[in-house]
């Protein structure tokens, strides 16, 4: 039940108990708090200094202030209002500055969601499962995460737009640099593969849609290329720019429909 791609194609009903990407792993940087949202629930995502990722309900259980405006100290989140401190992992309150000598009650704990990392993304599940995500192989280990694009359009609209047609260049910096029509396959409502190929080469973008809320979504993408590569590492930026441009155009098209 917690694997990606197991729901029937096009099945968007009750997505609450599944994993969604919410950020590229390398963007959940030290001493920072990512503010994101999934199915209308606000989430504070942060990494402690040991590398552990937390996905918490973005709300201090004291007086409801967003944890995302607080402080990531490397081991704890501190709420900005009264300085309450919450430990990485357990989400347990460890210190209430108004009562320094007292151990905070067990009830003083932030709401937690399931969090895990795979394929270069941080994934969140709104139910708090005991297991980390068991994600069926979406892509090879050499996949590159593309820039995530926020859309003022629901995931279902982005998916519909995408399935009407999508183009990208097989090799933006080399011989095959003009965008061509991709073959599109939806494994489910939130996972769509777009592939372009030529003799001996193939490029696949796996689109992973994050349903932020009723009218917003994020378009995440994983790029894999196989076969001969023409560019050197310096062209990596050019490839990222190309895909950013194509995904931005997709976003613009989806927003037009809204």
């Amino acid at each position: 039940m917690s694997a990606i791609g197991l729901t029937a194609a096009g099945d968007a009903s009750d997505p609450i108990d599944r994993w969604f990407p919410v950020a590229r792993g390398e963007e959940v940087v030290a001493r920072h708090i990512v503010q994101t949202q999934l199915l209308g629930r606000e989430i504070a995502v942060w990494r402690d200094d040991a590398g552990v990722v937390n996905a918490w309900e973005n709300r201090c259980p004291h007086r409801g202030v967003r944890l995302s405006i607080g402080l990531n100290t490397g081991t704890e989140l501190h709420c900005r209002y009264h300085g309450w401190r919450y430990a990485s992992g357990s989400g347990q309150c460890t210190y209430v500055p108004a009562h320094p000598g007292q151990k905070p009650a067990a009830a003083m704990r932030v709401g937690r969601f399931g969090a895990g990392e795979a394929h270069g993304f941080v994934w969140v599940n709104l139910i708090e499962p005991a297991e980390p995500p068991h994600l069926s192989a979406l892509a090879s280990a050499q996949a590159t995460t593309l820039r995530s694009i926020y859309a003022r359009a629901p995931a279902v609209t982005v998916a519909a737009c995408l399935l009407r047609g999508y183009r990208f260049a097989l090799d933006p910096t080399g011989a095959d640099d003009s965008p061509t029509d991709a073959a599109l396959v939806a494994s489910d409502a939130y996972t769509i593969r777009a592939s372009v190929h030529a003799v001996l080469r193939e490029a696949v973008v796996t689109f992973l849609l994050q349903p932020v809320g009723a009218s917003q979504s994020v378009i995440h993408g994983l790029l894999e290329t196989t076969g001969e590569t023409s560019g050197v590492d310096a062209d990596r930026l050019a490839v990222l720019r190309h895909h950013n441009a194509q995904m931005t155009a997709l976003r613009d098209a989806a927003e037009e429909l809204c």
């Binding site: 950020a23 963007e27 940087v29 030290a30 001493r31 920072h32 990512v34 503010q35 994101t36 949202q37 200094d49 405006i69 402080l71 990531n72 100290t73 490397g74 501190h78 900005r80 820039r147 995530s148 926020y150 917003q216 990596r236 930026l237 990222l240 720019r241 950013n244 931005t248």
Partner: protein, 217 residues
């Protein structure tokens, strides 16, 4: 000593306070009774700045009005290494000029939305917010690619320039005008970075960042 004609809650004045803090310049703050008494429109202040606007600095007999003139003056005089505004690097200067223009657009959109939402200033609030979101989209994309290029500042340098200080206030205060930064994760990382600039000064409504992780740990 430099005198700064100032208002705590003004994003433009804060740009100057940020610059002076970064350059470790001591200054005398002359705070005007801006809200609701509009002291910046009173006769005595109009003699100093006929446009009736803040910020204004007086430095050794010179009076400078407006953020761009002030930031250029302060770096020209007090930043001998040209770190914040390089003298002999036309490419970076051109880039800085571009972002100073963006800072002005941010003031006219996000800044105006904030003044409307907090202090009853007249504005076409929907147009201001839409304008701010369009700028934030461009800023987020630019900063993302800046990170991918190995730096994290607006002008392709390994350190911030006046462009970063000029854009920061209206971006950081955007939520006071109903403009959320949730859809702009690269901007959110950049604001943390700006807050960690040595000698960063806060203002009412802006809080400090936690200490950065030490490179040694």
């Amino acid at each position: 000593m430099i005198s700064l004609y100032d208002f705590e809650l003004s994003a433009e004045c804060y740009q100057v306070r940020l610059m002076m803090a970064a350059l470790r310049i001591s200054y005398r703050r002359i705070e005007l009774d801006v809200y609701p008494n509009r002291e910046h429109e009173s006769p005595w202040f109009l003699k100093i700045n006929p446009s009736g606007r803040l910020p204004v600095i007086e430095d050794d007999g010179l009076t400078l009005c407006g953020t761009r003139a002030i930031l250029e003056h302060l770096t020209g005089r007090y930043d001998p290494g040209g770190r914040w505004y390089p003298r002999d690097d036309p490419k970076t200067r051109a880039s800085i000029a571009r972002w100073l223009e963006v800072a002005e657009r941010l003031a006219a959109t996000a800044g105006a939305a904030r003044m409307h939402d907090t202090m009853f200033e007249h504005a076409d609030i929907d147009a201001c917010r839409a304008g701010a979101h369009a700028l934030f989209r461009a800023l987020d994309e630019h900063l993302w690619f800046a990170e991918q290029s190995g730096h994290g500042w607006l002008c392709s340098q390994s350190h911030p320039t006046i462009a970063d200080l000029a854009c920061f206030p209206d971006v950081m205060l955007s939520e006071e005008g109903g403009i959320s930064r949730l859809p702009y994760p690269a901007i959110r990382r950049w604001t943390d970075r700006v807050k960690r600039i040595p000698h960063f000064a806060t203002m009412s409504g802006i809080f400090s960042a936690s200490p950065a992780r030490s490179a040694l740990t």
